[in-house]
Structure formats: C-alpha cells, structure tokens
C-alpha cells in the first residue's frame, strides 16, 4: 500500500448515535466522533464525516477505504417506506405449493411491495436430481403479466443453495421480459436452506434495493464533496465487509451489522478472539459472543418487520438495561425501566441535577462511575443501592444465558453506558474496558474483513474429510469473489449437522472463510 493512502474511515449508524473513526495503517484510532443519528439518517452520516475529517492532523486525501455500518435497510422494512414493488417467483411446483409466497406476511408490508407472485414447476432434490424440469414458459408468462407493475424481481427455487441452475434460468427470462436493468434477487445468493425463510429474505432484499442505491449515492456524493476518493465497503451482519456494488445487490445483509460491528470492534480493541461482549447503550444492552474472532450466529429464525427470515445474524441477547434506564421505588423494592430517559440523561439524571433517578445515578452513587455535574442527593440512596443489586442480577443472568460452556470467560464491555457493568460477575473471569470503548462499533466496521460462505446438504459417502475439504474450497472461492486477499484467507467456521431419519449418512455442511481485503 502506498504511504499516501493509508487511512480508513469507519462509520456506524446506530439508533441514537452515528459514530465515525479514522484508523491509520497500524489500526490506531487517530480521530473519532459521536453525532446524533438524524431522522433521515444520511445527514447524520454527513455530519459525522465532516466532524471526523475536520479533526487536527487528519489528511482526508490519505483515506483509502470507507466502511459503513447502517440501519437504513432495517428502518425501511420496519417503516414500510421506499420499498420497491416486487414480482415474487418460486420455482418448485408441484412441491412447495402448500404454502404460497408472502403467506403470513403483515398486510401493510404486502401492500408496500405489491402482491405479485406465482409458483412454477422446477427445483431440485437434495441429491441434485431435478424435482421436475423447469417451466420456462410459465415463468415468461408470469413476468409478462407483471410488466410495468414491478421494479424488482425475487426468485427462489427449491434446494437452490446447492443447485442454482433453475434460479439462474428464471433470472435470464426476467431480464429478457422486463429489461436488462430490472433488479433481480436470487435466493441462493442470499439465504441458506429452509425455503420459506430464504424466499422471505430474498423478497425483502429485492424490495430494499432502492434504499440501498439511495444510501450508496448519498454516501459517495458526500465523500466526493468532502474530497475523499476511497473505496466504499459496507458492514454486514456477520461482522465482515462487502463492496459497495455488492451491498446494493444484497442490502438485506446489512441488517444486524450494528451488533456485529461492536463485537468485532471489541475483539480488535482487546486482542481477544473468544469472549463475551456487552454493548451498553442508553436504553438497552446487547450481549453477544465472540467466537474465533467473530460474532456467534443465531440458530433461531430471525424476524424482520414481522417476516420470518433465516439469513445469518449475530446471536444477540438484548435486555432493557441502559445508562438512561429509569429507577422507580415500589412498595416491595425497586423497578427498573423498561423505559429510559435515553439521550436526555444529561438533563434528567440526578447526577446532572435532574429529577429522574436512573441506572447511571445508581452507578455513580455506588462508586462505579464518576459522571455528572452534581452529587446524587442522599434521599435516593436506598432505591439506588437496591437498583444496583437488580442491575447486577440482570447482567449475571444474561451472561449465564449467553455462555455455552461451564468455565469462566472474559467479558469485554463497550458502548456509552458501560460504567454500569460491575468488575465482578459470576461466570466472568475478568471484565475488560478497552480504550475507545465508546466507538467500538465504528472501529469494528473499519477493521472488518471480507468473507465467503458455503452451505450444502451432501452425502458423506465419498469420505467425510473429502466432502469438508470441497466445501472449504467453495467458501474460499466465495471470499475471493467478495474481495478477500487470496493469500490470507482462513476458514473460521465448519459446521456439520447430520440429517436424521435418512438411511445413509447425509449432512448439512456450512463453512465460512474470511480474509483481509485484497488490493482494490
């Protein structure tokens, strides 16, 4: 890398704050800022960029990469705003007809994306045979019928994560009928096995393309205005990065990138590869597990805006406990939250001269933190002391729920409210509070690597080792395709789930490969 181009700008858009950091070639934080997240999100991002590049000693001309973690896509789904209308094609009949596409979706979301769907013949068996031949004619007829009514297409086929031919054939027809520029999302590129959840994620992905394009345009325009000529990468939900063009094609993968970034940032700031991470915000605390340097992924189905999806997300336990969580005295003790004074803590908290007892006041009164402008009045001592006991038990329970093994593990605490966390927690060997804990998520975005993933159901008959080796090769190839340096790719995860109720050994193999960015 040339010495003139050695800085990275990491940006993380959170619910309350938009953080930005600049890291130098040794990954040292040389500038950071926290700005309020704006209603339109984009102007908050611009403000954060302006604030961080405006800091002394920053030569913006040396920024080579910009990494963005953003909630744009999440908000668009939750608010049903700016979504494309989507033609939903499933290839699988006569199988899968028993549940139609979009069945069980919230009505307002269906209205937002149109109600255009069909199921045509095709799809594969788990062993690679066609269920029946692909029906190209019916596919053409469907796309013709929605011409002029849709802006995007979502295509899913049975067992496509392993055998994508029918999805690709359908995509060709979509472009032929609806124009070469039509947005096409293919399920095998988005999700793993489990048809309905994967199809749902694919439809959401297609619907989000407009939002993704807007964000990409806004960001590149801002960067251009500020004279920053850098490659833009997006953080995704597994803690790795994807290129801008990839993010525009797969906006759904940005959902959940916030917690992933804070876990990766925590790993980087402490040098640990395996630990529990607590990201303490104003209203809630997210607990996640760092395993082999990456967030542990959730095994449960993930619901986005009322839609069941199965795409990969960090396994997060969120509890309603943050710096602004309100403490209330009751007849039998104290109640904590779930409401929070949030960003108004500096006006409302007792330690700032306000009148609302909060968990931060409890931490101050208990000697855990030195925050605020005035001493916490003595009249609240009893309630605040009790509150701290409740805080500790909530944390202890969350820790216990997240841990997979019996031994004690280290815990890394990040986020603005981290003073709440005590130094001694059952099951935790030690509590680490790294420098720059308050912008760990933006740092996580800035230091992230790129990944490739492979997921298939396969017979173990050729030999287990051979089968796993082949899957690893596929994952590596995907990582290289996503921009990883082919020399430095590592396999970070191999999962083997045997299938029950079959007579010969068949397993579902999932492999993830990651590597640092190659030359761009």
């Amino acid at each position: 890398m040339s010495s003139g181009l050695d800085l990275r700008l990491g940006i993380d858009v959170g619910g309350t704050h938009t953080d930005a950091v600049i890291l130098d070639r040794t990954n040292t934080v040389i500038a950071k800022t926290k700005q309020p997240t704006s209603l339109d999100v984009t102007s908050g991002v611009r403000a954060a960029i302006a604030a961080v590049i405006g800091q002394p000693g920053i030569d913006k001309g040396r920024i080579s990469h910009v990494m963005l973690g953003t909630t744009h896509a999440t908000n668009a789904v939750l608010e049903r705003r700016r979504l494309h209308s989507v033609a939903v094609l499933r290839v699988g009949a006569p199988s899968s007809v028993a549940v139609r596409p979009l069945f069980g979706w919230p009505a307002d979301l269906v209205a937002a994306i149109g109600d255009h769907y069909t199921i045509v013949a095709g799809g594969y068996e788990y062993d690679g045979r066609e269920i029946v031949p692909f029906d190209a004619e019916a596919t053409r007829a469907f796309f013709t019928s929605v011409k002029g009514k849709v802006e995007a297409v979502a295509i899913s086929a049975v067992f496509s994560p392993m055998f994508a031919v029918h999805e690709l054939a359908a995509a060709d027809i979509a472009r032929e009928v609806l124009g070469a520029d039509i947005i096409v999302s293919l399920s095998h590129e988005i999700g793993s096995l489990g048809l309905l959840a994967r199809e749902n994620a694919t439809v959401l992905n297609a619907a989000l393309t407009e939002v993704a394009r807007e964000v990409a345009t806004a960001l590149t325009t801002s960067l251009h205005e500020y004279g920053i000529d850098a490659s833009v990468l997006y953080a995704q939900n597994d803690g790795t990065l994807m290129a801008l063009d990839y993010a525009v094609r797969f906006p759904i993968l940005t959902i959940g990138s916030g917690p992933a970034n804070s876990i990766r940032g925590a790993a980087f700031l402490t040098g640990l590869n395996d630990a529990l991470v607590a990201d303490v915000g104003g209203t809630s605390t997210d607990f996640g597990m760092l395993v082999n340097g990456f967030p542990r992924e959730s095994t449960a189905a993930v619901d986005i805006g009322g839609v069941n999806t199965n795409f990969r997300m960090p396994d997060i336990l969120a509890i309603a406990l943050g710096g602004g969580t309100v403490v209330r005295q009751t007849a039998t003790g104290v109640d904590l939250g779930p409401d929070s004074v949030g960003y108004r803590l500096p006006e409302e908290g007792l330690c700032f001269g306000g009148i609302t007892p909060t968990v931060t006041d409890a931490a101050v009164q208990g000697g855990r933190a030195v925050i605020g402008t005035v001493p916490v009045p003595d009249e609240h001592n009893e309630a605040l002391t009790s509150a701290l006991v409740v805080v500790d038990s909530m944390i202890a329970e969350a820790v216990d729920r997240m841990k997979l093994g019996k031994g004690d593990i280290p815990m890394i605490v990040v986020g603005g409210g981290s003073v709440l966390i005590p130094d001694s927690i059952p099951g935790v060997s030690k509590v680490l509070r790294p420098e720059h804990y308050d912008v760990a998520n933006a740092i996580g975005a800035a230091i992230a690597q790129v990944s490739g993933r492979w997921d298939e159901v396969v017979s173990l008959a050729p030999g287990r080792a051979e089968v796993i080796e082949a899957a690893c090769a596929q994952a590596r190839a995907r990582a290289i395709e996503a921009g990883a340096d082919s020399e430095k790719i590592e396999i970070v995860e191999i999962d083997e789930i045997p299938l029950a109720y079959l007579t010969h050994p068949v397993a579902r193999i999932t492999v993830k490969a990651v590597g640092p960015l190659g030359r761009l």
């Binding site: 199988s95 549940v99 269920i131 309905l196 216990d400 299938l499 029950a500 109720y501 079959l502 007579t503």
Partner: protein
C-alpha cells in the same frame, strides 16, 4: 368441534409439546394448515363415536428428514392423492382422516387435506406423542398389521407396500422415501372405525388444542401447562450440558439440567434419541418412555426441541402419562425403555414419583 384458522397457533404449540422433543418442526405445517383453512374453510373434528363402524379412517403423516421437508415443502395435494390410491386398493371410500402422530409437525399434517377435501378429522392419533420409528404405533400394540402402506410424493409417484410386519414396513417406507427425495407423504394402518376402536389413541387433537390454549395469555404458562396435561414438573433449571451425535439415522445424546430456585443443588439428565427418552437423577429413573417427557421454556412454556436445546437455556422438564395402551405389556415391549436399548424396566412416572417421595 371445528378447527378454524385462529386455532392453528394453539394447536401447533400443543403438538410441539406432545412432540416430546422431536416430531419435526411445526412452523411450516402450521402455515400449510392455515392457508388451507383460509381457502377451504374450517375442519370438523369428530370422535370415533360420531362415525359409522364401517367408515374408513385413513391415518396420514409426513415421513423423512425434517431438514428436507423445510426446503421441499409439499404440494398440499399429496393426501388427496394417497386417498385415491387407498380407495383403489380397498374399493371403499375414505370417511375420515387422522394424524398418524400428534407430536410435532405431523400432528398438523392432515388439517390442510381435511379442509381441502371436506373430510372430518378424527380426534385422535396412533401414538399420542412422537416416536422415532414407524412401527411404534398403537395399532401395532393392538396387534393389527399394516396390511398396506402407501407412500407418495408431490409428483404423484406412489408405492403401495405390503410388508409382513411393522418393522419391514418401516424399512421399506424409508427406502422409498429416500428415492422420492428424502421426504414423502404416507398412509398406513388404513382401517374401518370398528377396528380403530381400542387401536388408536383418542382425544389427542383436543388435548393438543387444550395444551396450546392453556399457555396463551396467562401469567405463569408453565404452571398452566402442568395443569392442562396433569404433568409433573421434574425440575426447573438451566441447561448445563448438551451432547448430540448421529447414529443409525437418529440423533442421540443427552441434556443436563441444573436446578435453580427450589430445585437448586439438583442435577438431572435427559437422554434423547430424536425424542426425549429417559430422565435420570443420581442414577434413579424419574420418568421414561413411553411416558411423555418435554422440555419447555421456563418463561413461555414453548416446547424446546432436542435439535435446538442449548447450554444456558432456562427450562422446566415436564413428564406426563402416556396413553394407557402404551402401558400394556406389549406397549412397553414396543416402546418401553428396553425397546430403546435400556437395561431397566418401565415404571409409570406416577409410581416413580411416589417411590422417590
């Protein structure tokens, strides 16, 4: 009684509890059932007493790997197709459908077909829970032979199997299922009502509904569930160890739960083979197959399947009595502890409990 679209959630939760850790996921089958009822109307649930002696009851279910059926969902028309084949073999009309297995997704399996064809659904099934093998059914206990088994796929392929006994039926049905792509629809032990009496387990659809409704909008779902099924809460605690491996097409292993609250200091182990088989404490059997053993989430009382149970989960282990037919000598021989390779005799859970107290 009618099953309407709004009942499916409760029914699915109940079927999951009766799945005793296995039986396959209920989510997809619940969607299938809801879509069919919304399209074709509610399903009438009948008892054997409501039917004529010579009405034909057709038990149905899905067979194969749950991970395949979550990807290759059915056409919804398989049961209709099974019916035409069955009627061809018997030269008689089918009068009612029944779930072969109430536990897990198979408990919901006949709902969609019953709605589509306007056939009544028998309030009962052939297991009263979930069991891993095809011959572990009440008709086999009652000495009936599966004269024929029909296995069909979504393409309208079908095979009629005429096995010499239940074990052969199991082997052949699995082999056919694999050729069909790892998941298929099956009808077996098709019989007139006169033979079904005493050979099926009645009331299990209502039971599943009762279970599901008991836990909806109550402050203590676990207590409500215990009441609804006359269960015993063996322990409430945290999962501290999970071990799983695959052997012979089954997931085997164990789950250790460490008690908290009133159960602090206790350590209980659940042994699994797709379903929860045995609960042990200090070498003493607290409950075993064929009695039902279900792990439920300690807050929501949602059933926790053996495939997803993991360290740190807060669970209650519930045991409740199996149907009386499983407690007959032949029932215990087919699905008691020794049938699963354990070297101890079955003791009904109520008795284990008294002895322990």
């Amino acid at each position: 009684m009618l099953i309407e679209a709004g009942d499916i959630d409760a029914l699915a939760r109940g079927c999951a509890v009766l799945g005793t850790g296995g039986g396959g996921d209920v989510t997809t089958e619940a969607l299938v059932a809801r879509q069919a009822i919304e399209q074709h109307g509610p399903v009438r649930v009948v008892t054997l007493a409501d039917l004529h002696d010579d009405d034909i009851v057709m038990p149905v279910g899905g067979i194969g790997a749950p991970s395949v059926s979550a990807e290759k969902i059915g056409s919804g028309a398989e049961v209709e197709f099974l019916r035409t084949i069955v009627e061809g073999v018997l030269d008689q009309r089918v009068g009612a459908l029944m779930a072969g297995e109430i536990g897990g997704g198979n408990g919901l399996y006949p709902i969609a077909a019953a709605a589509r064809m306007g056939l009544p659904l028998v309030d009962g099934d052939a297991i009263g829970r979930a069991f891993p093998e095809v011959h572990m059914v009440s008709m086999h206990v009652a000495g009936l032979l599966p004269e024929f088994i029909v296995v069909a796929d979504e393409r309208r392929n079908s095979v009629v199997i005429r096995p010499i006994d239940g074990e052969w039926g199991e082997l052949l049905a699995r082999a056919v299922t694999e050729v069909f792509g790892g998941s298929a629809a099956m009808a077996d032990y098709v019989m007139p009502v006169s033979r079904a009496r005493g050979a099926i387990i009645e009331g299990t659809v209502s039971q599943a509904l009762r279970i599901g409704r008991s836990v909806q909008s109550v402050s203590d779902p676990v207590a409500a569930l215990v009441d609804a099924v006359d269960a015993v809460k063996l322990i409430e605690g945290k999962v501290t160890d999970v071990e799983r491996r695959t052997a012979g097409g089954f997931v085997r292993g164990s789950v250790v739960v460490e008690g908290y609250g009133p159960d602090a200091g206790r350590l209980v182990r659940v042994e699994i083979q797709n379903e929860n088989l045995v609960v042990l404490e200090d070498g003493v059997v607290l409950a075993s197959v064929p009695d039902l053993i279900t792990l439920v989430d300690s807050h929501s009382a949602d059933a926790v399947a053996t495939e997803v149970v993991r360290y740190g989960q807060r669970v209650a282990i519930l045991a409740f009595p199996c149907a009386p037919i499983w407690r007959t000598p032949r029932g215990i021989e087919i699905a008691g502890p020794r049938a699963f390779g354990y070297d101890f005799d079955y003791t009904p859970m109520e008795v284990s409990r008294v002895v322990r107290a």
